[in-house]
Symmetry: C2
Subunit: 479 residues, 2 copies
């Protein structure tokens, strides 16, 4: 137990990202582009970083979070930057905003350009108002810009733009696919950071398990999580809005948003579902724990939790290079169906019968997991040309697993009125459902377990270390 550590000790143990990580990312990108296309002399990758934004018409500046492609390539923390890579010379160039004199009063020391060159380890540095001039001087023959669709949001990335870019030849077909593929495969240095974000986030989840008591608001656990991530690990931002669902709320998959802000009071007997992860310099984590609010499983909770644990164990044992994420999803549903029969939620059929009518999706409507990286739902789910599954359309990837990928494995089981009603009204599914038992579980909520796993040469390394069995959870919550 680390409870006696002082805040100074935590401060001394916080992770520092080596600047070589970004250099290596850029080299990986250059290599991929050279394989993918014929890179002309004097051609450049050009990326635009994120910009500052205010809340509506007010002067309240939002806390800036860097755009992920830009962050992956250059590591820059500050807004309003551009970055370029001279592909043949293998040289990196940053463009920093020219700051007004009163920046020094309000925002801090105006650093000389050399400061950013040192901090981010690039070869050259200029001001953003010199973009046109620099590319002219370098006789830029081609600018590779980022343009492509995100398979989760369906949004398109915004290609870099500066005044005068019209006079240069640009190309928007190649970069998005290749840099996305680079992001899919994590370098050893990157995996080290995911170990860190996972370690800190797991510590924060465990603090929540210890703090949880009936009579509290759900959001008080969100606060415990945020605080632990930040004060102990320096994770200022979380990867996504925390989900802290108690009782029936544990069946709302993305609970916790402003319209449902984790504001129910936790009751004795509630099942808890906490899906949260801290991020560090845009490197995310994504973990879910489920446990009884009062620390002791009921029989009903044992059945649901036991089903999900079996799904998790089966999938994580099977994850290795060569299998596809589609197969893993299928495996998870198969294990679920076994347990639906075992616990008499379903009857009068075999696992194959249940699989045939898609019974799994009634109880787990979301995908089994997703690529994770500098976005929680990371880019590249179908970047190898694979297709979204018609059978499991919620699945965010169907790809073949390969070393260096990080997948979340997050099986769940929920009792969602809307889906139960539909299944009971569908004769194909209803004939296998034990309506009496299923109806008894309405209002139960749900259960999910989520780990982050990096694919290795021979299997998968689970980065998420949390109490998972019912014995471990009950034992942990005694303290």
């Amino acid at each position: 137990m680390s409870k006696m550590k002082t805040l100074q000790q935590y401060a001394s143990e916080m992770y520092k990202i080596p600047v070589s990580l970004y250099k290596n990312n850029r080299l990986r990108l250059i290599e991929r582009l050279e394989k993918a296309t014929t890179v002309p002399d004097n051609s450049f990758v050009l990326l635009q970083g994120g910009c500052d934004e205010n809340d509506y018409c007010s002067d309240n500046e939002r806390l800036f979070r860097q755009e992920s492609y830009f962050k992956w390539t250059f590591g820059v923390r500050e807004p309003e930057f551009f970055g370029a890579i001279d592909l043949k010379q293998k040289k990196s160039i940053l463009f920093a905003p020219r700051l007004p004199a009163d920046y020094a009063i309000w925002m801090g020391k105006i650093q000389p350009l050399s400061h950013f060159k040192d901090v981010y380890g690039v070869d050259e540095i200029y001001y953003t108002d010199e973009l046109k001039k620099v590319f002219r001087e370098k006789n830029a023959s081609l600018l590779y810009l980022l343009y492509g669709q995100n398979s989760d949001s369906k949004s398109f990335s915004k290609p870099a733009h500066f005044e005068g870019i019209e006079e240069f030849k640009v190309e928007k077909e190649t970069l998005h696919k290749e840099i996305t593929e680079c992001r899919v495969f994590k370098s050893p240095e990157e995996i080290e950071i995911y170990r860190y974000t996972n370690k800190i986030s797991a510590e924060a989840h465990k603090e929540c398990m210890k703090a949880c008591k009936p009579g509290m608001y759900e959001f008080q656990l969100e606060s415990v999580f945020r605080h632990t991530c930040f004060v102990k690990g320096g994770l200022r931002l979380l990867s996504f809005t925390p989900i802290v669902g108690s009782g029936y709320n544990s069946a709302t998959l993305h609970y916790g948003h402003a319209g449902a802000p984790n504001d129910k009071m936790i009751e004795d007997g509630d099942m808890m579902l906490l899906d949260m992860g801290g991020e560090y310099e845009c490197y995310t984590s994504d973990q879910t724990i489920s446990f009884p609010a009062n620390g002791k499983f009921t029989e009903a909770q044992r059945e649901v939790h036991g089903t999900v644990l079996a799904m998790r164990n089966a999938v994580e044992a099977a994850m290795k290079p060569g299998v596809t994420w589609f197969e893993m999803a299928d495996l998870a549903y198969r294990v679920m169906c076994e347990h639906l029969l075992k616990f008499d939620f379903c009857r009068n059929g075999t696992v194959d019968d249940l699989m045939k009518v898609g019974m799994g999706k009634v109880f787990q409507p979301h995908g089994l997991g997703h690529l994770m990286g500098m976005n929680t739902h990371d880019v590249g789910g179908f970047n190898d040309g694979s297709k979204r599954s018609e059978l499991y359309p919620a699945l965010r990837s169907t790809r073949e697993l390969k070393p260096g990928m990080i997948f979340t494995c997050e099986p769940g089981m929920y009792f969602i009125d809307h889906l139960l009603d539909a299944a009971l009204a569908n004769p194909e599914q209803a004939k296998y459902l034990n309506a009496e038992k299923v109806n008894r579980f309405r209002g139960f909520g749900g259960c999910r377990m989520e780990d982050d796993l990096v694919i290795t040469e021979t299997g998968a390394e689970n980065l998420t270390h949390l109490p998972r069995t019912q014995e471990e959870i009950e034992e942990f919550m005694k303290h």
Copy 2:
């Protein structure tokens, strides 16, 4: 001391805003509009609430924060709403987004329209796709839309827009000024919430004072603040990005942003400056404390802190209806100049001499304070036709103080190289400066004290209760 309270006790004491508050706000707005203009029959105020947003091209949904004008008028927590007021009938109408069926799986129960009618206490409720239909049926003669400039950001508010609005007569001249003026004057129910945000934020600042130790990172105090606000008071959002400056960073007025993320290690002997405030349902707070990192003032710190305390005490004793904020700023600088002479930062002149050459602005370049409300730097600073001061251009208001206004009073004193260099190079100012002493303070950083005060009939009520004198601070930090 409240340290033995459990999280359940905090949960049971959290504030609930009565829905009558928003009803009353709407009545105040109707009244003002009727005074300001000839309101025709079947005319409506129409406001559009804030929308959901993702980070860049990803599917990461940002935690939604409602637009302040909309929140003030309708209290709505959820994104994508519209709201209207039938001015003659004095009736309120909300328009809620029509949610897709799978919202129930991902985001929570799809509430019937009647739910929002009850929760927000409005007279009528429709879907946003019915806006045109509803205004047609009501024979809308005129829609008052929100359009006007924010005096702090210089940005313009975005008038409500829906498909088909072209067929209605709209008016954008009147509403912004009148609703802004309503926001300037806080109702008793609103003041009650500011008491609450101030109480919780002060408790959080005090936790920071207790937790502060050399060897910690500044941001660990940010985390303590955030956590205390949220876990004890339910303040999920802060009013602005926390400023936790130690040593020389305490002179960077808006330190803490992504480019300077409170990440210096606190050192023994540092002066600390923490400017943070929690918000509740968009009602903000804004408090600054300054104290020695090790709990014991040095002589240098005593002089700077003592100067700022004297400025604060003088202004807060003088704040009352009838005086102007310009006069208060002038008073603060006058007290500062007295102390510049007293502590020998300046010599060879009188207070009047120093005032004449604007010596105060060398040491306090920011305004004395600002209107506070549903934005930290609240709207309305010059809404009564007053003008930005040429003498003190950083001053966010010059208005006459009136009951119901909330002003922050935040005098400060800083040693900013950039400004000291300029003053020492300016013969007008240099002749009064004790260069040797001033130069000795370079790197000291600065000191600021910020309270939130509501103007009463006879004076001002300070909502911010914190240890302020050097004795109080040293005594408090012993524990």
